[in-house]
């Protein structure tokens, strides 16, 4: 079975996806009322 990060596209996609997901977490921590 090929995992997403076994391809270049999957690597870039997962990297950018992590930015989005972690941004939501940071937004939650920092941005209450921001």
């Amino acid at each position: 079975m090929r995992l997403p990060h076994e391809t270049k596209g999957g690597t870039i996609g997962a990297g950018l996806g992590l930015i989005v997901i972690l941004s939501m977490i940071v937004r939650f921590v920092v941005g209450e009322g921001g």
């Binding site: 090929r2 990060h5 076994e6 391809t7 270049k8 690597t11 990297g15 941004s23 920092v30 941005g31």
Partner: protein, 167 residues
Amino acid sequence: MEMLDLGARWLHIMGILVWIGHNFANVIQNPTYIAPQGKAPAADLEERFEAALQREHGTFRYASLIVFASGVFMLFHRDILWDVLSLNSTHAVLGIGVWCGLLMILNLWFVLWPHQKKVIGFIPASLEERVRCSRITFLSSRTNSILSFPTVFFMAGGSHSSFLFGG
């Protein structure tokens, strides 16, 4: 102290170039996983090949420690080490980057490296074991490629936290 801080930042970025540059060279050279075929390099090349591998792997692994030490120094020097690690208020932006970076270093030293030693023959292993380990090192290395995206984003984002996240 200002000079030390500048030096630490320079070392930090230089170390990242060496370490992650190596990682992305690997992404380009091996876009997808191919299992080792068990063909040993020609005997006359073997010694030079191993020496080159050893240098290569030593260089980028120790670059990661320079990145770690200079990073900790900068946070300590600014007296925000604990705030950053505990994701306190706006320090959470840099903090997420730091935690991702820590994961990368732990992944490199405790997941990738023990298996890589078998793949490149520093520790003798059967072909079957080398094939198993090579897949682990591939996935571990690629995990660090992925983590480098948010790490760099949030490290750089620390200075832009109000633009990015308000607060």
